[in-house]
């Protein structure tokens, strides 16, 4: 078999092959490993390929085909390198953790394993998840498989690129202000950020604790559903994980019910800075929905333009505290010094990249005595206003549709480019993250070979409706699944 045969596959299709004995888990893993070898020097999605262990695991499974296949049995999965995997390096894209191998698995990893998945490898990311382009990784950037001169988005760029190029059938990422949705949009794949608290954060290296969520990156919405069922649900190791049972696909309304849902379009998400192509594509989708007799209403989210600033303060503040543990004492990088303080300074200065340092400084400033009220407290208050905006909008509709990003995948940051401009990439994904709402990015078309992402936002814990509409749209749009070729002459 060849990997391109899996281009339109979802998990059920792989399981069918296993059951029909058309392929063994080992053969499948090998196909993906070959694909990775083929693509890695071109897109650099992976930081670590778990070749030996994945083969062993696949071999074990091959020898023991159960009658009833657990939901992810035999399927390789790529995991963003800020999610702890026991015995497998977890670097967060940083020199600070270059040689760190966690002695434990994140809860989501445990659940994946329990469901029969095989860890294919760890994917590249912006350092400590701070970024929107996967350019700040200490180990080199990742390239957009559609056009390798462009960025794949970030910070889960490696995960998105690997799924896009079919180096992995699906991947885990993390989303703080858009780090799963934005790269999913740039790589033409599905990126789900669930409700805050839906998936356990235990073992997911913290960036901004009140915003971080594990995200799912898949080629088909169906796979996002299966994955969500497996990884979601209460966890007694995470106080912020809601004490509810895992998501079940019975929560997804039937298509007839989907048609009855009201879709809101917030006009603040169509500013003048939005790339025309994207605007057009989104409007086309909305037209199609109208044709399907789905009601579209205009809603208002007046504090949208303040969300980005308050996000940056709050996230940086939490990050500055979360990253204080990297001090060279118990784990991670240590640079020897003349004394303790010298060691602290040298270790942290060498271990962290520029963007991380910048955010730590920003965050420390925002929490400093005398500035707390002005910055952090204000940031938290604006967050309340952003939440209230959504609550009100959801009084008029069930789901929101917006663009995922203001621009198409862009070229890597030129030197001296303004941080703020980079931050604007997150303008559509940040507000829903601030409100802890479930949101999903779905490919809604291509412009000159580059994918355009459409974002759906739902009410807390209404992933059912969200995924239902996503399935509906996916079917409606019937777009070709991404499969960039890796031949040398392919630059588009």
């Amino acid at each position: 078999m060849k990997i391109e045969e899996f281009r339109d596959f979802s998990i059920g299709d792989y399981h069918r092959l296993f059951k029909d004995k058309e392929i063994s888990p080992l053969e499948l893993v090998n196909l993906f490993l070959e694909r990775i070898k083929e693509g890695e020097d071109k897109i650099h999605a992976f930081l670590f390929v778990n070749e030996e262990k994945a083969k062993d695991e696949a071999q074990k499974k091959a020898e023991n085909l159960p009658d009833e296949l657990p939901p992810l049995w035999g399927l390789p999965v790529a995991i963003k390198d800020n999610i702890c995997t026991r015995g497998i390096p977890t670097t967060c894209g940083s020199k600070m953790l270059e040689n760190f191998t966690p002695p434990y698995d994140a809860t989501v990893v445990e659940r994946l394993k329990k469901a029969g998945a095989i860890i294919l490898g760890k994917t590249n990311m912006d350092e400590f998840a701070m970024g929107s382009s996967t350019q700040t990784s200490a180990f080199g950037p990742t390239y957009n498989p559609f056009d390798r001169r462009r960025v794949p988005g970030g910070s889960s760029g490696g995960s998105a690129a690997s799924v896009c190029s079919l180096e992995a059938p699906f991947a885990l990422g993390s989303d703080t202000g858009g780090s799963v949705r934005q790269p999913a949009a740039f790589c033409g794949v599905v990126g789900l950020r669930p409700t805050y608290g839906r998936i356990s954060r235990y073992g997911v290296v913290s960036f901004a604790s009140s915003l971080d969520q594990v995200g799912l990156i898949t080629r088909k919405v169906e796979d996002a559903i299966t994955l969500l069922e497996v990884v979601s649900g209460k966890d007694d190791k995470d106080s912020t994980c809601a004490p509810y049972p895992p998501f079940g696909r019975s929560e997804i309304p039937a298509p007839e019910e989907i048609r009855k849902l009201k879709v809101g379009v917030p006009r603040e998400y169509f500013p003048s800075g939005l790339e025309k192509v994207i605007k057009t594509k989104i409007q086309e989708v909305l037209e199609k929905l109208k044709e399907e007799e789905i009601e579209i209403v205009e809603v208002y989210l007046p504090h949208t333009s303040y969300a980005l600033e308050s996000y940056y303060i709050v996230a940086a503040a939490e990050a500055s505290s979360n990253l204080a543990r990297y001090d060279g004492v118990v784990y991670g990088l240590r640079v020897e010094g003349e004394n303790l303080q010298d060691m602290y300074f040298k270790t942290r200065t060498l271990g962290f990249g520029r963007e991380v340092k910048k955010r730590i400084i920003l965050g420390t400033y925002a929490l400093s005595s005398g500035y707390y009220d002005e910055y952090y407290l204000k940031g938290m208050k604006v967050r309340t206003l952003v939440r209230q905006d959504f609550e009100e909008a959801f009084g008029k509709c069930d789901l929101l549709i917006t663009p995922t990003t203001p621009s198409l995948p862009f070229f890597p940051e030129k030197k001296g480019r303004d941080s703020y401009e980079m931050y604007l990439n997150d303008m559509f994904t940040v507000p829903s993250a601030m409100a802890g709402l479930p949101s999903l990015s779905l490919n809604c078309g291509y412009d000159e070979g580059l994918p355009v992402g459409l974002q759906i936002i739902g009410r807390p814990f209404e992933e059912g409706k969200l995924l239902g509409l996503a399935l509906f749209l996916e079917k409606l749009l019937a777009l070709p699944s991404p499969f960039p070729l890796f031949k040398e002459d392919n630059n588009e």
Partner: protein, 481 residues
């Protein structure tokens, strides 16, 4: 001429008696364990680890806060206290800032026989840091070592208002606080082992001079607290008298040299950049929980002390000694059930029992003697069946062997003379020798009988069977009528 006013406030940390740590399931039983063996990803602060609050911590802290008459806040919120130090793996301590578990309480205690009251500013909960050891056999030269076994142990911090007016008062206040937490089963209050720690703020002021607050740390026993603060009072007084300035600083008590030493570094507070810990959701403290805990509060040391004073007519000093250790106080009251002579029991406990405990190096809970056993022995003394001196040595043996009084007496051959004939002879001898008492008894004075029994006991060196003696005496005397 110095007429300075001393003002002292205390900051006391108590390790809470839970089995598991505050935010993870590691055991709290760290004393004597190999370093870094009671650890896990959470208390080591590994990347990706998250805290989950141990319910018992809240219960115990509430008990303490309620016993200190605090207002309990309806919501529990944790804040991060951010600073860098090797014994702090996460680079921050999970603590409470402006929303502590309890506020505005008070503590009453006796100091030099006078009842005092100090207001409690706040009670809050936080996690303990690890232990640092400095250079030694275990470590390469020029290094320090970190042991994270203690990271994450739950602490309750109690802060008093600066209302204590002498080192003595401060010490007595601390002792009462310790007794309270022990009584509550909230902490074992052991300063030597570090489960109770005390820092103090002290300032001297006069009518014309505002006091400068000096923080004193590293006082590891009640005595140290007294000595360190006494030293500070002197040091500050001298400076003030000489017109020299007092710096607002932290000073460490040096137990060996008997002085406080300025701790190197900063004037002014470090900025800990407190903010609400996003990993721990605020939790409600419901009225029902508060009521339940309140209703289950045991009698507290002060109440017990005062009850002992009124109910048993003991002096404040006597009551205080008994009440220091809840188990001793319990033992005392249990003994009274069988032998209701509070003064005597108190006396015996505070002298002989304490002496034996000290010599054996044990607590009352480890002793083989029970309240019933003690009562039995004391009854004999009271009835003058045996002398006090003999009883003391009997007690010693009871402690050593666990035997009951009569067993010991028999074994030692302090046998009771229970032969009627023999006793009767002795009784007649005594009657002859004490005509006045006989006359007294015959004229109705019961006490004379006791005296005569005592005389028989004396004659027999405590070996007469007291019951039998009494009946023989009565028989003989009545026949004398």
């Amino acid at each position: 001429m110095s007429d300075f006013t001393t003002t002292i406030g205390l900051e006391v940390h108590c390790q809470l008696l839970t089995q598991a740590k505050m935010f993870c399931h590691c055991s709290t039983d760290y004393i004597g364990k190999e370093p870094n063996t009671l650890v896990c990803p959470v208390c080591l602060g590994l990347p990706g680890s998250l805290p989950v609050l141990n319910q018992k911590v809240v219960e115990l802290a509430l008990r303490a806060a309620l016993a200190l008459h605090c207002q309990i806040l309806p919501q529990g919120v944790f804040h991060r206290k951010n600073y860098f130090y090797p014994d702090l793996p996460k680079g921050y301590q999970i603590s409470q800032y402006d929303l502590p578990i309890g506020v505005d309480g008070f503590l009453e205690f006796y100091s030099r026989g006078v009842k005092k009251k100090v207001r409690i500013k706040r009670v809050h909960i936080e996690e303990d840091a690890g232990k640092l050891i400095h250079e030694g056999v275990f470590l390469p030269p020029g290094t320090s070592g970190v042991d994270c076994n203690r990271c994450g142990i739950p602490l309750a911090e109690v802060v008093t208002e600066p209302e204590l007016s002498s080192p003595e008062e401060a010490r007595d206040c601390l002792m009462m606080l310790r007794n309270i937490v022990c009584y509550l089963g909230v902490s074992d209050g052991n300063m030597e082992e570090g489960s109770l720690r005390c820092d103090a703020n002290i300032s001297l002021s006069s009518s014309s001079l505002l006091g400068v607050k000096v923080e004193v740390k590293n006082m590891n026993s009640f005595r140290s607290v007294y000595r360190a603060l006494s030293y500070e009072v002197e040091r500050q007084r001298k400076l003030l008298e000489e017109g020299k300035p007092i710096f607002q600083e932290t000073r460490h008590w040096d137990e060996v040299k008997g002085v406080t030493v300025s701790a190197r570094g900063k004037e002014g507070a470090e900025d800990y950049r407190y903010f609400p810990d996003p990993d721990l959701l605020p939790f409600s403290i419901k009225g029902e929980m508060i009521e339940e805990i309140k209703s289950e509060l045991p009698e507290l040391p002060l109440q017990r002390e005062e009850r002992f004073m009124t109910e048993y007519e003991l002096s404040q000093g006597e009551a205080e000694i008994l009440v220091q250790d809840k188990e001793i106080a319990d033992f005392f009251e249990d003994t009274l059930r069988d032998f209701n002579e509070p003064r005597m029991v108190c006396n015996w406990i505070t002298t002989e029992v304490f002496k034996n405990l000290k010599e054996l190096g044990i607590d009352i809970s480890q002793a083989s003697i029970t309240p019933a056993h003690l009562a039995e022995l004391l009854k004999m003394v009271d009835k003058k069946e045996i002398s006090g001196t003999i009883a003391k040595s009997v007690l010693e043996e009871m402690f050593a062997t666990g035997a009951r009084a009569r067993e010991v007496i028999t074994r030692r051959g302090i046998s009771f003379i229970s032969d009627e004939k023999e006793l009767e002879n002795i009784v007649r001898e005594v009657i002859e020798k004490n005509p006045q008492s006989v006359a007294d008894y015959l004229s109705g004075k019961e006490k004379a009988l006791q005296f005569l029994i005592g005389q028989v006991m004396k004659e027999t060196r405590g070996q007469a069977d007291p019951e039998l003696t009494k009946s023989i005496l009565i028989k003989v005397l009545s026949s004398e009528e």
